[in-house]
Point group: C2
Chain length 544, copies 2
């Protein structure tokens, strides 16, 4: 067992007993077999006796008052707590803490849907509610609203949103969909944000700001409090959801294409849920691959020609339009007319679903769309099997000798051709310098006025030396991107300090501000030490 | 002259000299004549030698480095600073501080438009840039983007947004349009939020979250830092902006009407910039007024009948749709079809403007729309003259014996008939108990899943006794609303403590959290004491 730093086995045992008195003996887990289930199966440190972050135990309350009591006990005994909702943050650390010895505070048993308003389109939920749970609730109650889902669907609404997760439907930005939080502060006090601070408020889930500073957003990607309830904006069930393909044939089309797409996101013609990639650059045809090699990430008349001759788009995207048939048709006409000056642009209609009739008809893979279900607010597990080595991976707990883990390198750049090409140039150059395999094609997802470039890191194998090299490589990639003005939006626990350190304006003023807040609200440093690079005073600057 | 609490005239003078060395002698203002220009001409305390909040002076830097130096001097001499952008926050305190003796930090001279991106649709500006300035910049540079404006147009983009101000165009929520801040912290340190903390970031104005906790929103309605730069989302110039009227004839129509309107806001058919009011209840016809009296705010078959017979809508709204003609037409058909089950509903087309041709044609008052210009992103001063006693009021500085001031009572309620009627019932009952004139008709503006009810408080006259009664009445109104779960989104400096005290969940946990942050980031309490109810430690709990 790994104990928290500075805590003796006796103290730990005393804390455990106190926690058992709160949640019952069954729900404080300290056996190795139980702890194993909270390990991150895909960490590059997996099985490394020293480096892997392994919790000291886990405690699973069912009520807010229990969370408060646990936090107070943790303060008394200086036991660090790592709150998880459903613990499915795979690719970013799973259910394991950032620091060995931290105790997992598992909120999965707090899984009530507390309210859904069909007209004002909001919900109030607890952390343990997953997308699958919530979708079932909506269908069981025949409610004509959608929730935007993350992939895969076993994730928590609250957990995903707080980690700035995104989906594939009309409300892609889950963090921005939050309206009103209930938070247990690191001292055990209960606080409600926004309108919810008014006792009996009738606008907790409809007006997020309340009065005074809007502090709810500081509880995402941080360790300032434990969210025990959150409101979410929902989407009225649309009459129709239709997908369309847009394809352009030349390398240089990326500039006007992304300019126009950005403008259409900004004026609401499009939502943010579309992905851009390059069927041409991703082709496995040896002739094309050779030409891609020669072009070396730049413009090439040879590739432009191949795109036309072989009818493989240089750049392509699939968009979904939701709403009434009339509005969807009008928007699609608009989209085509606004892109019509791109010579050789092609448009194609894809899936078309009508609601409420088609909930059971939408299937991932329809018309080649692996995101068909999430685009229609339907959580799915099928997405989980893609790209990460097959769908038969265990989700947490002991890992047999599997070939793959998951890790993401996630830079986010402005929605412009210059930055889209720019970040990939930096990545390619760095990969070459490091002797990494070159990323030939990268997919990017729209978000805000940005494109999120999501790259799978090199497979994580059970080879400690290779893993260390891979980890260093990702650090080098992040540094190279940062030097060119490109940052990451989220990262695995193992890289949190590295990513945060890139945000170094004025001698890391932002991180120091986070630390000032941390020291003020969590003087004993019990909440999630190291999360997003924020360490409590007693551990700050130590290599943990 | 009113000095800050605990500061001697000598200390103050020493601080002034040090500040003069930073910004030049001309830009530290301490003469009575200069100070007068920073007084709030419309405060209910106007001219009250004891109660009116009067600054000790003002200092007006031109650069961020000067702001930092001033803040450091303020810390050294314990001089409280009250930052203003253009100082036009009329109705909510103008340019005057919350506490007498606070020195105004006037940022009006920092008025550069630093960047505009036409495709990604964003701007980066300094605090002194007004809507009028920015609009001129857009037109001068022939940029095909809009900014959502507050009314009136001399206000600051940054100042308005930070006070959670709203506009009448497609990006109504100015606070939510912020992307990326530069902040001088109360200790004089410079910090950039979001992506901007990455040196040389290319996504400061396109990706607001950056990495780690999203702290930018805590700098609105607070006193945790001085914003010296902010990014704003803009709107692509639409092909057309069209207004439409929707009218329903019965009292009880409010329920299905607001349910449908809410759903159309939630799915993006409508933006949030529409206002609901009651032409019938606001009628000056004595017969109608008598019936309104009899109905006493409730449903009445007599009023329903009058609405039909006299063709005066019970409830009415004007919406604007922006975009391509095709999409606007399709949306309008949608709106009509979704409201068609309301018996007797009427639809009417209003203004239609095409861009870029019509910028000079749009005029406030077109088709009776006093918000025509702001609905089209065109700042205006005409709005300033409405409802507040004529357009010839001086804007700040000495007030001759004018009959009126401005003050708002601004509850915000969920977008439902129940709450829309509910809050007005509470207001009416309270007004009656207090012997105040009854508010016969109230206008409400959509915002989020909410309706913001904006009531003018009783005219502020130069009669100290009446003023005190009016202030107490507004306090009583706020308390009564709070008891029923309705809160305010913003208030005049004189009521800030009262409004914040209503957000009292768990022994004022939210305010205490604000105070914990305040003490951590501003231990000397120099920044805007009392703003939004947040007092520094040394002044907390004192009656100031």
């Amino acid at each position: 067992m790994k104990l928290p730093p500075g805590v003796s086995a006796e103290q730990f045992q005393a804390a455990v007993q106190r926690m058992q008195a709160v949640v019952g003996t069954d729900w404080v887990l300290t056996d190795d077999a139980d702890i194993w289930t909270y390990r991150d199966s895909y960490t590059p440190f997996y099985g490394d006796q020293v480096a892997e972050y392994i919790p000291s135990g886990a405690v699973a309350p069912t009520e807010v008052a229990q969370v408060q009591q646990i936090v107070r006990i943790a303060n008394e005994f200086r036991i660090p707590l790592w709150p998880i909702s459903t613990g499915r943050n795979l690719g970013y650390g799973g259910s394991a803490p950032r620091m060995s010895g931290t105790m997992v505070l598992d909120l999965k048993r707090m899984n009530k849907v507390l309210a859904v308003d069909e007209h004002r389109c909001y919900a109030l939920v607890e952390p343990g509610v997953s997308y699958l749970d919530f979708y079932k609730y909506l269908r069981d109650h025949k409610l004509k609203v959608w929730l935007d889902c993350a992939d895969p669907g076993w994730g928590s609404l609250i957990g995903n949103a707080l980690d700035h997760g995104v989906g594939h439907g009309p409300n892609r930005d889950h963090f921005a969909s939050i309206c009103g939080l209930e938070v247990v502060l690191p001292n055990g006090e209960l606080m409600r944000t926004g309108s919810g601070a008014l006792p009996g408020s009738k606008a907790w889930q409809t007006f997020p700001y309340g009065y005074g500073p809007h502090i709810a957003p500081m509880f995402g990607q941080s360790n300032f409090g434990i969210v025990t309830k959150a409101g979410f904006y929902l989407i009225p069930e649309p009459e129709v959801a239709r997908s369309y393909h847009i394809m352009v044939p030349r390398h240089d089309d990326i500039h006007p294409f992304l300019d126009q797409m950005a403008a259409m996101v900004c004026d609401g013609t499009l939502n943010q849920s579309w992905q851009i990639d390059s069927p041409l650059l991703g082709s496995r045809d040896p002739k094309i691959a050779a030409a891609v090699e020669r072009a070396d990430g730049g413009s090439s008349s040879e590739l432009d020609q191949m795109s036309r001759d072989l009818n493989i788009p240089y750049w392509g995207t699939r968009i979904y339009l939701h709403g009434s048939s009339k509005v969807v048709d009008a928007k699609w006409q608009d989209v085509q007319s606004r892109l019509s000056n791109l010579e050789g642009v092609k448009f194609k209609s894809g899936n078309a679903y009508h609601f409420p009739d088609d909930y059971d008809k939408v299937k991932d893979g329809d018309d080649g769309d692996v995101f068909a279900q999430t685009a229609c607010g339907i959580p799915t597990m099928s997405i989980y099997g893609m790209g990460i080595g097959g769908s038969n991976l265990p989700t947490r707990g002991p890992r047999a000798r599997l070939p793959h883990g998951i890790g993401f390198f996630s830079p986010i750049v402005s929605m412009s051709g210059e930055d889209w090409l720019g970040v990939q140039k930096v990545v390619r150059q760095t990969e070459r310098e490091l002797g990494m395999p070159l990323s030939r094609s990268a997919g990017g997802w729209a978000w805000f006025r940005c494109t999120l470039v999501l790259l799978y890191v090199q497979p994580i194998v059970d080879d400690p030396e290779k893993n260390l090299r891979m980890m260093d490589n990702v650090r080098a990639l992040a540094k190279a991107c940062a030097r060119h003005g490109y940052s990451e939006y989220r990262t695995h626990t193992v890289w949190m300090d590295d990513v945060m350190s890139a945000f170094s304006f004025n001698d890391n003023a932002l991180l120091r501000f986070h630390e000032t807040i941390k020291d003020a609200v969590d003087p004993n440093g019990i909440l999630a030490p190291g999360r997003n690079g924020i360490w409590p005073k007693n551990l700050r600057g130590k290599k943990i």
